[in-house]
Each structure stands twice: as structure tokens, then as C-alpha cells.
Amino acid sequence: MNTRIFLLFGILFLSLLLPGTALAADQSEGIDTGDTAWMLVASAFVLLMTPGLAFFYGGLVRRKNILSVLMQCFMCMCLMTILWVLVGYSLAFGDDMLGGLMGNFKYVGLKGVGYEARGTIPHVLFMMFQGMFAIITPALILGAFAERMKFGAFCLFMALWLLLVYCPVCHWVWGGAKGFFGLGGKGALDFAGGTVVHINAGVAALAAAFVLGKRQGYPDKISPPHNLPFAALGAALLWFGWFGFNAGSALASNASAANAFVGTHVATATAGLTWAIIDRIFTGKATMLGMITGAVAGLVAITPACGYVTPMGAIGVGFGASVCAYFAIAVIKKRIGYDDSLDVFGVHGVAGMWGAVAAGLWATSVVPGNDTNGLFYGNPSQVGIQVQAVIYTTIYSFVISFVLLKIIDVIVGVRTDENSERMGLDLTDHAENAYTILE
């Protein structure tokens, strides 16, 4: 595995020494300073979500595995970035290739991605904003196999998943794909990544949970979250960063962005409250972990919908998000019995599906920048289009992720050995301890 990364890296470095591959000079005409300001900030916000996720996840694992979670998140921040600028952006946003399955190689090495306006912001900034999505999406998956995946296999899987799953689905929805795969072209609504990001990652997580199998001692002998304040910190950073994710997806600083911002906030608040109430009803007490889990489910669900629904519609989206995710985690998961360590499928997959469908329910052309109405505004057919997008993404993501993991398992093995799992990945995979005991 090691050598593979190595090779890749070597080639890539050499290519830098050839200045000829650089970008062409161009004008800053058509660039709006306000929109650019917002997109600079939004990009930074989205980047911050990955450390947010790291703490959200890291607080929930056992003391001996927190660094492995943080490390995997940071690795996504590094590895995905490089893959994205070298080839991923091209696969996602290039012109159709393989019948629209993915983009072609026109933007490889950022060739042709310059400083000219794309919309009202520099093209290179658009590329970066999208690149931040390409970091967090794979990172979401890791919650499913936390505490037991080999680090080398992790890196390999993530790299391949980005190129073979994320980039294609991104291309279908946002990259202008035509023909069979052109979900965007077919009119599927996905403002900020319900299908591309959350269903995609959530379903891949389910596949991973199946391939990796259960942790030793699951479900009865797994000790509870080792540091819930860290999880709360992570949730807070996610909430904060998600404003960039959703309102940034307007790609401008306008009323559409404002609407997405408000919808995001309202849905999240509703979902957090809803989970707290469900908790209270079913287990007698409102829990902090429940509330932040609900909030994240709300953020997930509003993601595809935030550019199409009003703030009032967002209440409906948020409410449904927690109901669906709770049900998936507390009932379905138990019944089926897979070990999705940190409930990625429940929170991202299920709430993501709900959100995609909900966009088809509450979408309204009242919202600036949107002409599509949903079921509640007299257009029942939109629900069908949404469901179709969900199904395509689910099948594609599950199948490819499953196969990828199986192949990697054969080549290098995905699961750490029993002894390493007992001692914890921090020490055995990264040669570190998160906390000292005495000093």
C-alpha cells in the first residue's frame, strides 16, 4: 500500500517541476467582490467541518482509538485535496466521458482552471469550494468502520472511493452529465449534496459495516463514548461550518444564500429538539448526545432542500430527519444487527434520503433562484424524480463501495488484527497515545 502512495506521490512531484503545466493568465472581469468574499469564507467553513467531524466522531470512540479517528480525518484533508486538484475535479466537472458516467480529463492538474469568472467568482475558487466537499464526504464514511480498519487499507479505499464513487455521482448531479446518469439534467433537486454527499457516504458506510464486520465485544461490551464534550464540540463546528456548505452552494452572496442559511439553521434546530423529545418519550430523559445527533441529522436532511424550501418548510424537513434517523438507529440497526460504529448510515444515509424526498415535498418557486415546486405546491411528479435520484445513488454507491472494499480486503486486508484492536489503533497503527495517564 505504502509503495503505491509513494509512486503516485513521486510522479506528482516530478510533474511540478515542469512549469509548463501552469495555468493561463486571465482577466478578473465579471468577478463580484461580495460573492467572492462569501465563497472564500464558505470554503473555509466547509474545510472546518472535517475537524468538526473528527471531534464529533472522536469523542464517541474509546480512549484508545481517538487518534486514529482524528488521523483518518486529517488524512482525508490532505489526500483528498491532492487527488482533487490533480484529477478529481476533472472527473467531476469535466465534460461527459463514458457516456456521462464521469467527467473527462480536461481539467487534470488544474489545466484550464484559472482566475476567470465562473458565475461571479474566480474559477479556481469554485474548484476549491467543491474540493472541500470532496474532503468531507469520504471522511463521513469512516465512522462506520472506526476502531477496526487498518490505516493503509483506509487510505487506499478512500482514494479509490473518491475517484470511482464520489466524482461520478458529483458529475451526474452537479457536473452537467447528460443522458442516463444526468440526474441534474432530469430535474432532481440537490442544492448542497443530499445525494452526492450524504446518501452517497451513508450507503458506502453501510457497505463498509457489512464488509468489516463487528468490533470485538459488540454490542454489549463496547464501553460508552469516552469524551462527550468533544462530540459536542464537533457538532458545534459542524453546525457552524454547514452554513458554508449549504448557503455557500448558492455560489453567491444573495437571497438564495440567505434562504439556504435560514433553512439550514431552522431545520437543524427542529431536528435537535425533535430528537430530544423522542428521547424523552422513549427512554425518559433527553440526552445531550441525542440532541446533537438529531441536529446533525437535521443538517443532513436540509442539505439537498435548503435552496428550494422556505424556512417554514425547513421545520418539516428537520422534524422528519430526526424521526427517520432515530428509527433507523434505535430500531432497524438493532434488528439487522450490523455494527455501523458511529451510525453513519442512520444519520447520513437515512436522513439524507429523507431530505432528498422532502425537497420534493416542500420545494416552492417562492424561494429565489428556484422554479421547481414540490408535492405540497402542486407538483407531485417531483417526488418521483427525487426518489429516482435516491435509488440510483444508493445502488451505485453500495455496489461500488462493497466491491472496492472486498478487493482491498483480498489485496491488503481491511481489518486490523485482533491484538491491535484490543490495544487500540492509536498505539498500534500510529504509535501514539492520546492522553497521558500520570503526567
Binding site: D279, T283, G290, I329, A330, K334, D343
Partner: protein, 113 residues
């Protein structure tokens, strides 16, 4: 000389320390501990999954004393940490053969107090 080990409810520590002081016992060492006993834990809930913790937070006190301080020590601990509810803990007393004060090198009865 005796070596006393007491496991008590953690929030009673301040009380116990005060009462020991009153009974003339100043020197003690304290550590964190968790214990399994008759006491039922409070239910914990993580994403709808209910668990009853069996290991509950306690505090462990250790005291080296001369023989005639055993009773005052035990009494102080019982008096100050008893809530009457299950989970109050135990006191164990063992024989202590030697005691050294590191600073002075004193040993035995002089070293202990």
C-alpha cells in the same frame, strides 16, 4: 499499626476528610475508583440504546494508623459517609508491618502520624 482502605461514595469525601481531622487523623491518601456492588447504576442512554452501568464511581481512601487510631478512623468514616442507601461502601483493615517517612527516614509508630 494498621492499614485502612475505605471505599466510599465520592461526594462524601469532603465530609469524611473533615470528620477524620476531628478524630485526630490528618494524613490520608485518596484515589479514584469504580466499584461493582449491590447498588444499581443509573441507566445511561446512548442514541436510544439503554445501558445500566455496573461500575459506579467511588473514592478510595487509604490511611496508615497506629492501633489505637483504628477505631476513631473507622467511626469517622462510617459517620461521615453513611447515607443509608445501598452503595455506601466498605472499610477494610489490614496489618501494617512497617512504615517509613521518606523525608526523615523515621520508621514505625513515629513515622506513621
Amino acid at each position: 499499626m494498621k492499614y485502612i482502605v475505605a471505599i466510599i461514595q465520592s461526594d462524601k469525601l469532603d465530609n469524611v476528610l473533615d470528620k477524620l481531622e476531628d478524630n485526630g487523623i490528618h494524613l490520608v491518601t485518596v484515589t479514584n475508583a469504580v466499584g461493582r456492588g449491590r447498588q444499581k447504576g443509573e441507566a445511561e442512554v446512548y442514541r436510544g440504546h439503554k445501558e445500566i452501568g455496573t461500575l459506579l464511581k467511588k473514592v478510595k481512601i487509604e490511611i496508615g494508623v497506629n492501633d489505637d487510631f483504628v477505631k476513631p478512623a473507622v467511626d469517622a468514616i462510617i459517620e461521615a459517609s453513611k447515607t443509608g442507601e445501598i452503595g455506601d461502601g466498605k472499610i477494610f483493615v489490614m496489618a501494617l508491618e512497617e512504615c517509613h517517612r521518606i523525608r526523615t527516614g523515621e520508621t514505625g509508630n513515629e513515622a506513621i502520624g
